[in-house]
Assembly symmetry: C2
Homo-oligomer: 334 residues x 2
């Protein structure tokens, strides 16, 4: 089997020399283990943060270990009662053709051959029903709480999480304005994801555009980026606004977090800014997936995929999020 292992901790973007594609024997299964064939690797910002030597909600990937990432795959051998051969699972299989799963909260059975549910759209699984969709759901449902007629702004709106978050707010009856980094992305955000408007922060005057597209100010801001964009939206908050801190993609690579001086608007506007982590809500994934499924089946949740083919493109896939080159959910097929 082929897999990508960490050779050196990246500084900023991942360099070719930081990882290596190695070939090894398939692992022998111990009791309680199952072998998963990886069908699709989902790339998100967490995968990059796991390469840093920083404590987080999961330990850092160690030098020599497989680069960790969320995956969807199929059980091909099992010595674990929780899984049958043929089960389709989401797991943290990483950048590898195969991985070993246990009966733990990181592996979830999504479909079974026996009941005909194994023939599932792998991309939708990771783009809508995996931790990406759950993140959008928990942030918007628990913290943002958009009401009909309110104005919701979402940054990185063409991205995997932002696009779902905005569609959830739209389904809740809010007016939804995206922020994205190109005219092409903005077109997708409006035409495919159904946002009411989208601001191109690279070419538009962000503050002027926020005034134009949010005449009643901003009730909910779902922030994926931090930095100057967060600062600009804080300056446009409405009374009792809620800011959902979902990520700081602007600083994952640079390591710098310029503080938003407009945080003082939280005071004037009696507003709140709150961080959250999807893993805290693991026991509520069924709730999240039920709502995501309901909207998806009614055509109210759409997604876009960008698939890198082959483990040799792992570095490109990992960097794509931070280079802002892709639209929608980024995948790699090993």
């Amino acid at each position: 089997m082929r897999q990508v292992v960490l050779r050196r901790r990246p500084i900023g973007l991942v360099a070719i020399e930081d990882v290596e594609v190695v070939t090894s024997e398939l692992p022998e299964l111990a009791d309680g283990e199952a072998l998963v064939r990886t069908d699709l690797v989902g790339i998100d910002a967490a995968a990059r943060t796991w390469l840093d030597d920083q404590p987080g909600y999961l330990p850092p990937v160690q030098i020599g270990e497989t680069v960790r990432a969320a995956t969807v795959g199929q059980i091909v051998a099992t010595r674990c009662d929780a899984y049958e051969v043929g089960d389709v699972v989401t797991t943290l299989g990483g950048f590898a053709e195969y991985s070993v799963s246990h009966d733990d909260l990181f592996t979830t059975v999504i479909g079974r051959v026996a009941d005909g549910t194994a023939d599932i759209d792998r991309e939708a699984l990771l783009a809508v029903f995996g931790s990406t969709g759950a993140t959008a759901y928990f942030g918007m449902h628990d913290i943002g709480r958009p009401q009909p007629g309110e104005t919701v702004v979402v940054s990185a709106a063409a991205g995997a999480t932002g696009s779902i978050a905005g569609q959830l707010a739209k389904a809740a009856g809010a007016r939804v304005v995206g922020i994205a980094g190109s005219a092409e992305k903005c077109a997708v955000v409006v035409d495919e994801f159904g946002f009411d408007a989208c601001i191109d922060y690279r070419t538009d005057d962000l503050r002027a555009a926020l005034r134009e597209h949010c005449p009643d100010r901003v009730d909910v801001y779902f922030d994926n980026v931090g930095g100057p964009i967060l600062d600009a939206v804080l300056g446009r908050l409405a009374m009792h606004a809620r800011v959902v801190l979902c990520g700081v993609i602007s600083s994952y690579v640079s390591g710098e977090h310029p503080g938003p001086s407009n945080y003082v608007k939280l005071l004037a506007m009696r507003a709140s800014m709150q961080g959250f982590n999807t893993l805290d809500n693991w026991d509520r994934y069924d709730e999240a997936n039920a709502e995501l499924r309901r909207l998806y089946d009614r055509g109210q949740l759409r997604f876009r995929s960008h698939v890198f083919e082959g483990l040799d493109l792992s570095v490109d896939a990992l960097n794509a999020l931070f280079e802002g080159t892709n639209i929608g959910k980024t995948f790699l097929r090993p």
Copy 2:
């Protein structure tokens, strides 16, 4: 009657030339008005902000108008059914020997001659039961929500609001650490206000002191100052911490709000930062005052006064908060 009127909008600290003490006739009362003799003017940061030409929860003081401030006084003449001669009231009488009150939410009857409640400690009224105490109560009760055993940090701990906020947290069973700007202030914070510890931010290494005095990190931070102190405490937050944004005294005068780069800790710690305004809770003043009264009568709420004598010292009184020269609640006796 003598009163202090605004002649020019101050930039930064108030200058002698910005205001003028003028003498005028006592006003003729119209129907629905009552004349209040000012016994004591309470100075808080809001009084300074009202001199700026910025929209807020009250309109700016106009050039030529009396400098606005919370006061306690006694009704000396009335054509308003809500008030009797002799009533002790809190109102927004400003820097003046007399003012006119109406039957509105800015004037509250605290004591009456008829029932023997007019002989009230004026200083306690403004220091504990006025908007100062209510601000501490709403911020701590609604947003901070300290639990027994939690660690609470309060900045401007020797100040009017901070000292009450910390004592409320202490009464709730929390470990309370103050931050103040001199050894003398820190001594008062610990010895008189009963905080468990107090950090002198002018001489101590703030981050090291926070590590020392908050070994279990910070569950609640009641922020009166913003700026670098806010940033340092954000860096020491515990999981699910609550940051109460009560004021940004560090920037009222400078007009600058350096953003706290440690806002990203809100994300890692699933923490929240929330602004509030006491006036939003005007209909809950009875609730606040009942709790403040309960603790005050049990000796669990103490205050310190600093009284400026005479309207000629109005500029000194207004600047005292921002120069950090005084301890406790600042008053002026006209």
